[in-house]
């Protein structure tokens, strides 16, 4: 018998959380693998959906914003301008919509098995990451097609991806925990995601926003992330609006901390409420 002693009582010391996450890392990986595996089971097109969705969305945006509305492209091919923003946006929207349902759709596990519940919404992020990587390969192909060469800034993409992950996980944790108690969020999330697509600078460059409004516009944390992605991918003379970027990063981090905290504090009642 191992000498490890476990104390069960009301309230859980927060410092145990990280150690426990490490202990359950295999479960985390297996759940992520499960979700990736079953994602496209029983679909005819299978994994091609991961390619089709961003490509079709991009095509629509190029036509609407580039060709019809004739928004400025800042000297880069409009498809690349849109695709550079599509990458973080789809990652964000997939993560948020999947993770917010992660607890509800695994209700049986939550009420019958013990494991750190934060694994479930985090798993959804991994699944979105797979889609992100597929879309990233598409971006490389698109850039090759247009003969568009990246600059050194391209190397900063991993950092920006982490920023996107932190921002979306914060919202994901918060909503998934709220969703256990108040199923309203199941209806709110698709709305947020849909609206966000138009409010965030996905189909257009945030340079079209008048200067006096840009800081306010950056209250949407995804504005910073998307601008960052464009800046890193497009390189050249693309500029970044630093005060707005800093504000977005700050808000993203704050959301993450709030999300994690709320999740851990309510986690213990999930099995009773779900």
């Amino acid at each position: 018998m191992s000498d490890r002693e476990l104390l069960i009582r009301r309230g859980k010391p927060i410092q145990g959380v990280i150690r426990e996450l490490w202990e359950f890392r295999e479960l985390f990986l297996l759940l992520a693998w499960r979700d990736v595996l079953v994602r496209y089971k029983q679909t005819i097109l299978g994994i091609s959906w991961s390619v089709l969705r961003p490509v079709l969305t991009m095509a629509i945006f190029v036509v609407i914003f580039g060709k019809i509305a004739k928004l400025p492209d800042g000297g880069v091919p409009y498809p690349i301008l849109v695709f550079a923003a599509m990458l973080p946006w789809q990652f964000f929207s997939n993560t948020v919509s999947e993770s917010s349902n992660a607890l509800i759709s695994n209700a049986a596990m939550v009420s019958k098995i013990y494991f750190p519940r934060i694994i479930l919404p985090t798993t959804s992020m991994v699944v979105s990451l797979v889609d992100f990587l597929i879309a990233f390969v598409l971006l490389l192909m698109l850039m090759a097609w247009y003969g568009f060469y990246p600059t050194w800034k391209f190397a900063l993409l991993p950092l920006l991806l982490i920023l996107a992950a932190v921002t979306s996980m914060g919202i994901g944790f918060l909503i998934s925990a709220l969703n256990v108690k108040y199923r309203d969020f199941r209806h709110i999330v698709p709305f947020i995601v849909q609206l966000g697509l138009y409010v965030s600078p996905v189909g257009f460059s945030s340079a079209v926003i008048p200067d006096q409004w840009r800081l306010l516009y950056s209250i949407n944390p995804m504005v910073g992330v998307i601008d960052g992605f464009r800046w890193a991918i497009l390189g050249g003379d693309t500029t970044i609006y630093w005060p707005g970027f800093a504000l977005s990063i700050g808000l993203g981090l704050a959301l993450f901390l709030i999300g994690v905290r709320y999740f851990i504090n309510t986690e213990r009642s999930f099995a009773d409420v779900i």
């Binding site: 009301r10 295999e26 759940l31 499960r34 595996l37 079953v38 099995a271």
Partner: protein
């Protein structure tokens, strides 16, 4: 301080709401409805506050103190709603206690439901790894035990078939086989062995015996008293969330059956179909004569809106080790009326003294309208009057006799 599990002053409180509802609900239903409503309220309309008058605290567990030593096999028994599952959930860390604490030494594996976390789209092989991880096994461990799991589950041919195409038997076998191969110091099981066919069940029990012999601690909930007696050496009886009895299994099971708090002479059934309403069932103790094999009298109160044909009653009598010893039935036409009483006299049952429970199944034509085990508990005693020479035998073979059967014993004396 070296107990495997040390439970101190454990309590778990739920908030339930009582609201005006159908008058034909049992208290248990009412509690469940209350829970559901409370949950629904919170879930669907957060802005709507619960009427404070309707909220009541409900202690699913209260003041539980218990020490379980390493290697002990503990059975937890009690009626539905007594808190058995809640206790297991607290021990498994799924739900948090409201007060008190539990210290656990060693690795815990708990199986509260068979096949939780199986994904229907994944194959048998994939699910073995997934479910193993969910139950807390390391990948290396699963790989090592893989063949054993497959063999126990008898699914060699279907390893690469999605489990959604499995028969329910295969599904359950696979789930159990994974759990049975968990290496843990403490194993917590909730009524999970009551599945599968007879052959598989005995296989499970063999496996559990093996687990027990390895000196692992087992905590086991079941309504099957036979299984409890076979599998465990100590038992605890929960009544309304409190620890009513603890001790060796045979004594606690006997206490469960004879406890006056449980063995009401009359039970409210309060079951309603569109044409008839079952009021209650009573064991008529006053009609029981002293002695062996005296008729047992039960009376069942029934209200009928109209004349009801083809009502079939099946009564079963169970002993304390979970064996159904006697079954009887009749089919009747019931007259219309608010207060019909059906008197049932069960003769020639040949039951020895002891504690018994009654199960009742009622159907109209082919539709089952009531089916419940252990609706009523009763005791047969006072055998001395007619069979006093049997007393030593009965004492030695308590609970193992089943029924006596009449036979002719003829002796032929040989004449030389």
């Amino acid at each position: 301080m070296n107990s495997a599990i040390q439970i101190e002053g454990l309590g778990k409180k739920y908030l339930i709401s009582h609201q005006q509802q159908d008058r034909y609900l049992s208290l248990r239903d009412e509690i469940m409805r209350g829970l559901h409503r409370a949950v629904d309220k919170l879930v669907h309309r957060k802005e709507e506050q619960l009427p404070s008058s309707g909220i009541e605290e409900f202690w699913a567990l209260k003041d539980i103190d218990l020490a379980i030593e390493p290697g002990e096999r503990i059975g937890i028994i009690g009626r539905n709603g007594a808190g058995k599952s809640t206790l297991l959930k607290v021990l498994s860390r799924i739900t948090e206690p409201t007060e008190g604490q539990v210290r656990i030494r060693g690795r815990v594996a708990s199986l509260l439901e068979v096949g939780t976390g199986f994904h229907p789209e994944l194959t048998g092989r994939e699910n073995i790894f997934l479910n193993g991880a969910i139950l807390g096994m390391k990948r290396e461990e699963i790989r090592r035990r893989f063949d054993e799991i497959v063999e126990l589950a008898e699914i060699e041919k279907f390893l690469d078939t999605p489990v959604k195409r499995f028969s329910s038997g295969m599904y359950v076998r696979l789930a159990f086989a994974i759990a049975a191969n968990l290496d843990s110091d403490i194993l917590i099981l909730d009524e999970v062995l009551a599945v599968g066919d007879q052959q598989f069940q005995s296989k499970c029990q063999g496996k559990m015996d093996e687990v027990g012999k390895q000196g692992r601690t087992i905590i086991f909930v079941s309504h099957n008293m036979g299984l409890i007696q076979k599998m465990t050496n100590r038992a605890i009886l929960l009544v309304n969330g409190a620890l009513a009895e603890t001790g060796n299994t045979t004594d606690v099971v006997a206490a469960y059956f004879s406890d006056r708090k449980l063995s009401s002479q009359s039970t409210d059934l309060k079951t309603r179909s569109d044409r008839l309403f079952l009021n209650n069932i009573t064991f008529c103790h006053e009609k029981l004569a002293a002695g062996f094999n005296r008729p047992l009298h039960f009376s069942l109160g029934i209200s009928c809106n109209t004349v009801v044909d083809q009502v079939t009653f099946v009564l079963g009598i169970w002993n304390t080790v979970g064996a159904r010893l006697v079954t009887t039935r009749c089919t009747l036409t019931l007259p219309q009326g608010e207060a019909n009483v059906l008197d049932i006299a069960l003769k020639n049952h040949h039951l020895p003294p002891g504690n018994y429970s009654l199960s009742v199944d009622i159907s109209i034509a082919t539709e089952t309208i009531f089916s419940n085990d252990h609706v009523l508990f009763f005791e047969l005693s006072d055998l001395e009057v007619t069979e006093r020479y049997l007393i030593p035998f009965l004492k030695n073979h308590r609970d193992k006799i089943g029924t006596f059967v009449p036979a002719d014993f003829n002796i032929s004396a040989a004449i030389r």
